[in-house]
Each structure stands twice: as C-alpha cells, then as structure tokens.
C-alpha cells in the first residue's frame, strides 16, 4: 500500500507509512462504518492433517500445495511464505482482490486454525527427498528430469556407438 494505480494487483511490499500512520488510517476507516471484525485465530488448536486436507480442497488450486503461489487467469497468486496467522484468516474471510471469500459454513473456525498450522508447516517444508527444487511442482522437476535424462541418453549413445578409426 498504496497502489501505484487503480487496477494494479496489490502485492507484498515495504509499507510507505509508519505504524502510527497505519493505525490512524485504520481508525479513520473504522469510524466511517462498522466493518467485519478481525477474525480471532488459535493456531494451537489446529490440526495439521486436517489443515492439509482443507487447504488442498479450498486453497491449493491457486496457492499451490505448499503455498508457493502461482497464477489464475488475470492475476498472480501470492506465495504465503511471509503471511501471518491473522493475515491468513483475514484473507480467507474477506477475499482480497480476485480471491473468493469463504464463510464459516465453507471453512469452520477450527478448520481455519488447521489451515494456519498447515501453512506454517509448509513455510518450512521438510524435503525428505533431499532436494526441494523450490517446491513449486512439475516445472523445475521436469527441467531436472530432462537435463538428467538427456545426459543419460548421450552417455548411452556414447557407450553403444563407436567412432571409425582411420
């Protein structure tokens, strides 16, 4: 904040205002009309397995399974690596920019806590394979496969073929 121009997609950047100014703006806007309250979160009550299930169902389509972000047609989807618990809850309940909002009927308060626990786990993924390659899915994995596969194929050609000696 603030946006460079209307229609620009908001993205995470260094705030132009200091904490005091931000609080003043929030108080002013809150004084115009009552808005939705800041959702209360309790990550300690969440369950990471349930969080993964709910995240897969509602969030991973855009945000990717380990919350690295991606695209939808017409917008970039931000990664959640710096998102705090309250920010995640606010985004789920209000739906910023092109994101749909999710009512407590779709994602209950407990499921929201679980999502937060899961996202926190995903922010520091355990790469049991030893090599995460950015954890962004098939593109880098495919590149690695292709590069390795091509080297193996060339080596095979070298083994089964032979140069004519003169």
């Amino acid at each position: 904040m603030p946006l460079g121009k209307p229609g620009e997609q908001p993205s995470r950047s260094t705030p132009s205002f200091n904490d005091h100014e931000i609080r003043a703006i929030v108080d002013y806007v809150a004084g115009l009309a009552p808005g939705p309250p800041v959702p209360k979160v309790d990550p300690a009550a969440g369950d990471v397995a349930q969080g993964q299930r709910v995240f897969t169902e509602h969030c991973a389509g855009c945000h990717q399974i380990v919350a690295q972000g991606g695209v939808v047609t017409g917008a970039r989807v931000p990664p959640l690596k710096d998102a705090t618990a309250t920010q995640i809850a606010e985004a789920v309940r209000t739906g910023p920019y092109l994101m749909p909002r999710f009512s407590p009927r779709q994602i209950s308060a407990h499921e929201l806590d679980s999502i937060i626990v899961y996202v926190r786990r995903a922010q520091h993924p355990v790469n049991r394979g030893g090599w995460g390659i950015g954890n962004v899915g098939p593109v880098p994995e495919g590149m690695v496969t292709w590069l390795v596969a091509i080297v193996v194929l060339l080596a095979t050609c070298r083994v089964i073929g032979r140069r004519v000696r003169r």
Binding site: G7, H58, V72, T73, G74, Y97, L98, P100, R105, I160
Partner: protein, 329 residues
C-alpha cells in the same frame, strides 16, 4: 482419384525399387563371422520380453477393475520399449560384423566397386545363423508393441458403451446438498464465493454429480436463449468437471472492485480453462473446447435449492461428438 492413382504409382515404384536391390547368387566378399549362438538366444529372449510386455499392456487395458492402472500401463509399455532397445543393442554390438575401414573410399565412378560395397553391407549380417527365428521374434515383438499402441483407441467407441458418461443423477426436483449432506438453502448462497453441491441421495463420485454454485447480480446475467428462469435469484449451477480434461473446477475468480478488475470467472486449475458464469458457462480463455454444462435450478417453498431439470449438455471432458448429445437424467 488422381491422388489415389499417384499413391498407387508411388507404391509400385517403391516395390519395384526394393526388388531391384536384392541381388542373389553372388560370391561372398565378407567372410561369414563366427556364429554367436548366445547372443542370438539373448536377442530372441529380449524380443520375447518385448512381446510379453506389449501383450501385457493389451491385457491390462482390458482389465477394468485394477488399482494403479496408469502405473501398470507405464511399466508394460516402458518395459516393451526397453526390451526392444536392449535387443537392438545386442544385435548391433554382437551380431553385426564390424570391419574398420583402412583405406580411403574409392572414387565414385567405379560402379562395380560401389556394388561390392553394397554387397559387403548386405552380407555384414552374416553372423545370424537363424535368421527366420530372429525375424519371427522381431515381427512378433513389433506386432505386440503395435497392438499395445492401438489398444487405447478402443476407448473412443463405439466398441465400448459410452452411455454412462452421459448419465447424471440430476433430475427435476432433486435437492442440492453440501459435502456433509446438508441441504443448500437459497439464502445460504452469498455473492463473492463459490460452493460445491451434490445431488441428495446419490453417489458423489459420479462424474455427473458435483456442481459448482455461485451467486451473481441477476441484472449482470446474459444467459443464452431458452435458459430464462434457470438462475433464480442470480444463483447459477454448473458442472464442476472441466470440459477440457475433466479436472475439478476449484478456482473462482471474483473481483473486489469490478471496475478495473477481471470479470467473475470459474477457472480450472489444471490448464486454466476459464468459464464465464454470467453468460451460461462460455469459454473465456484456455484449452476447453465447449461451454460448461449448466443445471437449471428452482427454489422450493421451504427455500431449498432443487434441480429443475438436467444439464444443458453432456458433462465431463470432451470426446467424439459430445457436442451433439445431451446428458441423460
């Protein structure tokens, strides 16, 4: 007609040309190499392996109720190609006579010597002692792999029954329920978000079952002709299965500030096919070839959402002539 004649003439020339290449009854130039029975047996066994894998693919394809079918298909086809490749490697390394050339090539204007070179190349396969056995094994392996490659075409019909793809559990009066079986009431459906609905009392796993529900401003709707009244209160229901490759449409793009942001759209996360819910599910972007099928809705006296008929088109990924068929209730 002229094209057909041209093809026939070309084929005739090719056959005559191939026949002319065969020269028989001349003395050998390259001495016959030592027979390598072991290598020959290995080649036959490897070709048999390819045959078994290729035939295995056909059998696996025919068995409907297997788990991990994709992986088994991959193992069978990959194994067939690996066996073929191994057989060719053994032929190349052990059975074809290799001679290192120690002189420069002769000038090209000596046709007799050129013919000799052709004969040398022709006879360089002289280590084969059981040519017909090997040729038979190779033909069998090629046939099995070829058959395996053709087998999936069966799924295009009409050999297989495609009616189940068009059958859906939706019929007039069936209530819409959520994941947990609770009925959706019209008042539950808010704008700015999307819901997944299923038919009450039917399997959720059928391709025709899941719906995506959204609510838009009724004034913003431009539904095709004949769909008046399909969206009571601006509530729209579409099949959740993308018409491109059959993924679940799990993304809903909804503008916070519609003036400058892209319009509301249902997006499939697999290949970003984008459908416009306001105009009857027309394709805005992406590889989908036809509109998302819409389900007409009605609101009963208790305020619950019910289907008012069946889908506007066949649900699921597109296939041969799906456009001309309607789904069956």
């Amino acid at each position: 007609m002229t094209r057909l004649k041209g093809w026939l003439l070309t084929m005739l020339f090719v056959i005559v040309g191939l026949g002319g290449l065969r020269r028989r009854g001349r003395d050998r130039i390259v001495p016959a190499g030592d027979p390598d029975r072991g290598a020959e047996i290995a080649v036959v066994l490897l070709l048999l392996g390819a045959t078994v894998c290729g035939a295995g693919f056909v059998v696996l394809y025919a068995l409907d109720d297997l788990g991990n079918r994709t992986q088994l298909f991959g193992i069978a086809l990959g194994g067939a190609f690996a066996f073929l490749a191994a057989a060719l490697i053994v032929v190349g390394k052990r059975l074809v006579v290799t001679e290192d050339l120690e002189e420069d090539y002769p000038e090209a204007e000596h046709p007799a010597q050129r013919d000799e070179v052709v004969q040398i190349v022709g006879e360089s396969t002289s280590r084969f002692t059981r040519k017909r056995l090997l040729a038979g094994a190779a033909a069998m392996a090629s046939a099995a792999v070829g058959l395996a490659a053709l087998t999936p075409a069966l799924s295009l019909g009409p050999v297989l029954d495609t009616d189940p793809l068009l059958r859906t559990p939706w019929r007039r009066g069936r209530r819409l329920v959520d994941d947990n079986g609770r009925a959706f009431r019209a008042a539950d459906i808010q704008t700015g978000t999307f819901y997944t609905a299923f038919p009450e009392g039917a399997s959720k796993d059928e391709i025709g079952s899941p719906l995506v529900l959204v609510r838009l401003d009724p004034r913003s709707l431009k539904l095709p002709r004949g769909r008046a009244g399909w969206a009571p209160g601006g509530i729209l229901a579409y099949s959740k299965i993308c018409t491109h490759a059959g993924c679940a449409i799990a993304l809903y793009r909804k503008p916070t500030f519609p003036v400058v942001e892209p319009r509301p759209a249902l997006v499939c996360p697999c290949h970003y096919s984008t459908f416009d819910p306001a105009t009857g599910g027309t394709v805005l972007f992406g590889p989908a070839g036809r509109d998302l099928p819409q389900l007409p809705l009605m609101i009963d006296r208790d305020g619950a959402l019910r289907a008012a008929g069946t889908f506007s088109a066949g649900v699921g990924p597109s296939w041969w002539r799906v456009r001309t068929r309607r789904s069956m209730a």
